[in-house]
């Protein structure tokens, strides 16, 4: 684990609508209209390579919902959503507040459009805040007034990296980044991870995945696919919650499902680690 502290990463200096954004593409796949032609074009091209991508994306979102509920069941009442994207539907605070209205949430994203949109949508929502920052700067995130104002890190917190850590390349030491968050997390906290993969045990075989990753290279967010072992390694230092690292839809499904119910949908792995 690296503890090298670099200066804060420069956030995008310009809003470049000529380039697709992962946040807006994701919104499109979730059925939102918070997107532009460039985003839809990327989405549609990716769908042509892997037709079940939209469905798979919904699985990430569904996992997010299940994981938030799991954290609530474990007593966590505060959430730090890293790479929160555009609040299309089923946002963390909405899911959580259905259970306990006192839940506090800080959304973090580096996409300036996603952030300003979130700010507008959440303007009137109490105890929810939005931080424009890069998740690769744990200190910057953790020491921000937004986090300091809403979250009490002496108590358990759920740190969410759902469909966002695969935008952090190996050269930026994702394990080190996670480690620095882990250091700040009180016992009983949870790390929620969902991560794209190119593992060829599914129909999204390496070659297809690589083509999708290539598509993202033109966006503001580059995609790094990781194997199950790599994703599991990222959770080092946490106690893995049952059932460990699984395909995204298989992580604590609402209704028991058979193994081959979604054989085509392994585009990512999910796992939750508990800080002990």
């Amino acid at each position: 684990m690296s503890s090298v502290t670099t200066g804060p990463r420069p956030l995008p200096a310009q809003v470049d609508l000529d380039r697709p954004s992962a946040a807006r593409v994701h919104d499109y796949w979730l059925g939102g209209s918070h997107n532009f032609a460039v985003d839809r074009e990327l989405a549609e091209r990716a769908e042509r390579i892997v037709p079940e991508l939209p469905a798979a994306m919904r699985e990430y979102r569904a996992f997010l919902r299940r994981a938030v509920r799991f954290c609530l069941d474990s007593g966590v009442r505060q959430f730090l959503d890293l790479g929160s994207g555009i609040p299309t539907v089923g946002n963390v605070h909405e899911v959580a507040r259905a259970v306990d209205p006192a839940v506090r949430v800080v959304y973090v994203d580096r996409d300036p459009v996603a952030v300003s949109h979130s700010r507008v949508m959440l303007a009137d929502v109490p105890d929810v805040d939005v931080l424009h920052a890069d998740l690769r700067d744990p200190e910057r995130v953790l020491d921000s007034p937004e986090v300091a104002g809403l979250l009490d890190l002496d108590h358990p917190v759920a740190v969410l990296m759902v469909s966002s850590l695969h935008f952090v390349p190996d050269s930026d030491d994702p394990a080190g980044v996670i480690g620095r968050y882990r250091e700040a997390m009180a016992p009983g906290s949870h790390l929620v991870l969902a991560h794209a993969t190119g593992d060829s045990d599914a129909r999204l075989v390496g070659e297809q995945a690589a083509r999708v990753a290539a598509l993202y290279r033109r966006s503001a967010d580059c995609l790094t696919l990781r194997s199950r072992a790599e994703v599991t390694a990222l959770l080092t230092g946490f106690a893995l919650v049952e059932p460990g690292v699984t395909r995204v839809p298989d992580w604590r499904p609402d209704t028991p499902r058979t193994a081959d119910e979604h054989p085509h949908r392994n585009i990512g792995y999910a796992g939750v680690g508990r800080r002990v």
Partner: protein, 740 residues
């Protein structure tokens, strides 16, 4: 929202059929067993949920979805069965679906299909065969739902597009604001920087310059914009400056840093540290150059001042030793094979006296004045006048043509110093001694010429003042040899490099050997066998004569003791020379007594030879010493008698036993010359002999070379003789043999 959508037919038929009558009216709807009962609605909702599963993302679990759809189902059923029939509530169901994010295209399709089949079927509406009104109602409900759905989705899409556009606008505004702020900060840095900053294009046209740069250069921005970077070339620029610049504008380097001079608009020169950087565009093409210029003129001037101070004498302003040595070694570096260099090393005569008697102030002013005169009469390209210490000056002739050059300069200098120098109310007459060295640089070194100039100055001084002396390699070699001898003498004594030869002293009346003079020799490892004249004078100068004389005395006595043991009464006395300095050595008497005691030689067998000057006209102590020696029984002889001032009257007061008549008198006795000179000499010698005898002194003649001389001397009454006629000085064996 609730206005009926166009194109959806108004229901015309009531469903007031028998089949339905029993199941109640609107009041009954929602009852436990009615068409809206949990089983029917639940079944429908489950079918609905199954149909739309996965077609939209909704943030609900499967059971939550079923629950949510159950509510909508209930509304639909109610609307379908209502009397009078009104499909409007179905619009709200459509809108509610959108609100719950059932927005996938397939979702509406499957929902509409479900309404056409499952809904009436599960309600049992087709059972009675009166499908007509049912179909109509169902179609109306479908239409209302679709309309409500479309309306809501359209609204939602518009809202979201609006929202995201708004977000883009805000985000853009914010990043632009941040950009403007950072631009403003950079502008401020540019404008306020103390360092001069200028921006030019790749052709060297100046585009921008900050206030510091304008002020530094003395131009307005407009004036500067008329100019090209290359206009700021300075004749003294290092060649590398513009080579680096060319590399930069050709994109071969990204920056460089140099020291450079600039002309200000007013013609003044400023010294700067210049850093030029290349700015490239996104594709890496060179687009701009940015120059950062720091004015270091003050620093530079200070450095120059310090450098000047380090290389000049603060009193006279002349170059100092460091600068002189620097120029000297440069003359050697650039001299090549044929170059010659000359030095005039001069030193004021009697400067110390002036300084001591008139004070340092006067001394200092005198030095200043001398410096000025030297500078005035010598300075020319290729010549350097430096003050290199107290009252020492040196003139370097960097490329002299011949020795004559430095001689001319030296004469000039001596002449220039002839006129007295006025310092305050004093008229000071000064002169200088000058040592001259002039030679090819090839084969010598700066250190060599400096050393030789120093020696030559010393010669000039000891030759008398107000003179120059030219370095003479032979004289130098001699002095070096002398120096080497004196320096090695102490070690030579210890190493046994000295030995004694003995020359017989013979009684003239019967030819009997009565004594032997000990003569010291030096077998020098480098110079070979050295006679006393090569080193005795030197030893007297250095004081080495005292230990050397002590060694000679001991060695001679050791030999005398051998002869004394062997020949008893026939043994010769031994005659040892005492140098002047030895005769004044306070420990002389003790030394002699000690040696005699140690060797066991009878005092009467030791004779000490002194020169006239050592004995006469001196203070009392040496005489006391001689008296003490004499009292001890040691014989005292006066060597070379007749060459000094021969105060015969004084002789009687001296403790002397023997006179040795100098060989020059004896020489006259040799010739049977017709000129009769030998007659004069014979008379002088005769007078000396009778005088000596009158005083009770014996007489020995030195330098006896012929039998005739020996005979004459004998005739005159001279007691003893010494010289080649009898024997040359030789090893002790020679004496031994003569006695045996």
């Amino acid at each position: 929202m609730s206005r009926p959508a166009e194109g959806i037919p108004e229901p015309r038929h009531r469903l007031g059929l028998a089949a339905l009558a029993g199941r109640g009216r609107e009041t009954a709807v929602g009852g436990e067993d009615g068409p809206c009962g949990p089983d029917v609605v639940g079944g429908l909702a489950a079918a609905w949920a199954e149909a739309v599963a996965g077609t939209s993302y909704v943030s609900m679990s499967r059971s939550e979805i079923e629950q949510h759809l159950a509510g909508l189902t209930r509304q639909l059923v109610t609307a379908l069965l209502a009397e009078p029939f009104d499909p409007t509530p179905a619009r709200q169901v459509g809108a509610a679906m959108v609100a719950a994010h059932f927005t996938g295209t397939e979702t509406l399709n499957r929902t509409v299909a479900l309404l056409a089949t499952e809904l009436p079927a599960r309600l049992g509406l087709f059972r009675d065969g009166c499908q007509g009104p049912v179909v109509e109602r169902v179609a109306a409900v479908q239409g209302a739902l679709a309309a409500g759905y479309a309306e809501a989705l359209r609204q939602r899409t518009l809202d979201e597009q609006e929202a995201i556009s708004q977000a883009v606008f805000v985000a853009r505004d914010q990043t632009e604001q941040a950009l403007r702020a950072s631009e403003a900060r950079f502008r401020a840095v540019f404008a306020e920087a103390a360092i001069g900053i200028g921006v030019g294009d790749m052709a060297g046209r100046i585009l921008e310059a900050n206030a510091s740069l304008l002020e530094m250069m003395g131009y307005s921005l407009e004036e500067l914009r008329q100019r090209n970077v290359r206009d700021f070339m300075h004749p003294e620029d290092a060649a590398s400056v513009w080579r680096l610049y060319d590399e930069l504008v050709h994109g071969q380097r990204d920056h460089f840093r140099v020291e450079k001079r600039f002309f200000r608009s007013d013609g003044e020169v400023i010294w700067t540290h210049l850093t030029v950087s290349l700015i490239r565009d996104d594709r890496g093409h060179p687009t701009y150059q940015v120059a950062m210029i720091e004015d270091v003129t003050d620093r530079h001037l200070l450095q120059e001042r310090l450098r000047y101070q380090a290389l000049h004498d603060p009193l006279t302003g002349l170059p100092n030793r460091a600068l002189f040595l620097d120029r000297l070694s440069r003359a050697f570096e650039t001299g090549g094979r044929d170059g010659r260099v000359g030095l005039c090393y001069l030193d004021l005569d009697g400067f110390k006296v002036i300084n001591d008697s008139l004070g340092h102030d006067v001394g200092d002013q005198l030095l200043v004045a001398v410096g000025q005169r030297l500078d005035a009469c010598v300075s020319a390209p290729g010549r350097l006048v430096a003050r290199i210490g107290g009252d020492e000056f040196i003139i370097l002739v960097e490329r002299s043509g011949s020795t004559q050059d430095v001689v001319v300069i030296a004469d000039h200098v001596l002449a220039a110093l002839e006129a007295p120098i006025r310092v305050g109310e004093h008229e000071l007459a000064v002169s200088a001694s000058i040592g001259l060295v002039e030679r090819p640089v090839h084969g010598t070194t700066p250190a060599d010429v400096m050393r030789d100039a120093d020696i030559t100055l010393y010669w000039a001084k000891s030759d008398g003042k107000a003179k120059w002396a030219l370095f003479d390699p032979e004289r130098n070699a001699r002095e070096v040899a002398r120096f080497t001898l004196s320096a090695t003498m102490p070690a030579a004594i210890e190493r046994g490099e000295f030995y004694l030869d003995y020359q017989p002293l013979v009684r003239l009346s019967d030819g009997q050997l009565v004594g032997a003079e000990a003569l010291v020799r030096w077998r020098h490892p480098e110079f070979g066998l050295l006679a006393p004249d090569r080193f005795i004078g030197l030893a007297e100068e250095t004081g080495q004569i005292v230990p050397l004389g002590r060694w000679v005395l001991r060695e001679a006595c050791r030999q005398a003791r051998l002869w004394q043991d062997r020949f008893g009464q026939r043994a010769p006395f031994i005659s040892v020379n005492l140098a002047v300095r030895q005769s004044r050595d306070p420990s002389l008497v003790a030394d002699v007594a000690k040696v005699l005691a140690e060797t066991g030689v009878e005092p009467g067998r030791l004779q000490l030879e002194l020169t006239e000057s050592a004995v006469m006209g001196t203070a009392d102590e040496p005489l006391d010493a001689l008296r003490a020696l004499s009292a001890m029984g040691v014989r005292i002889a006066i060597d070379d008698f007749g060459t000094g001032y021969s105060n015969l009257a004084y002789l009687r007061h001296l403790p002397v036993h023997e006179l040795k008549i100098a060989g020059s008198f004896v020489e006259g006795l040799r010739a049977s010359a017709a000129d009769g000179s030998h007659v004069v000499d014979a008379r002088i010698v005769g007078t000396l002999v009778s005088l000596a005898h009158a005083l009770g002194l014996g007489v020995t003649a030195e330098g006896v070379e012929t039998e005739a001389q020996a005979r004459r001397l004998d005739d005159i009454g001279c007691d003893s003789g010494q010289g080649w006629y009898f024997a040359r000085p030789g090893p002790p064996d020679q004496i031994t043999r003569l006695l045996s």
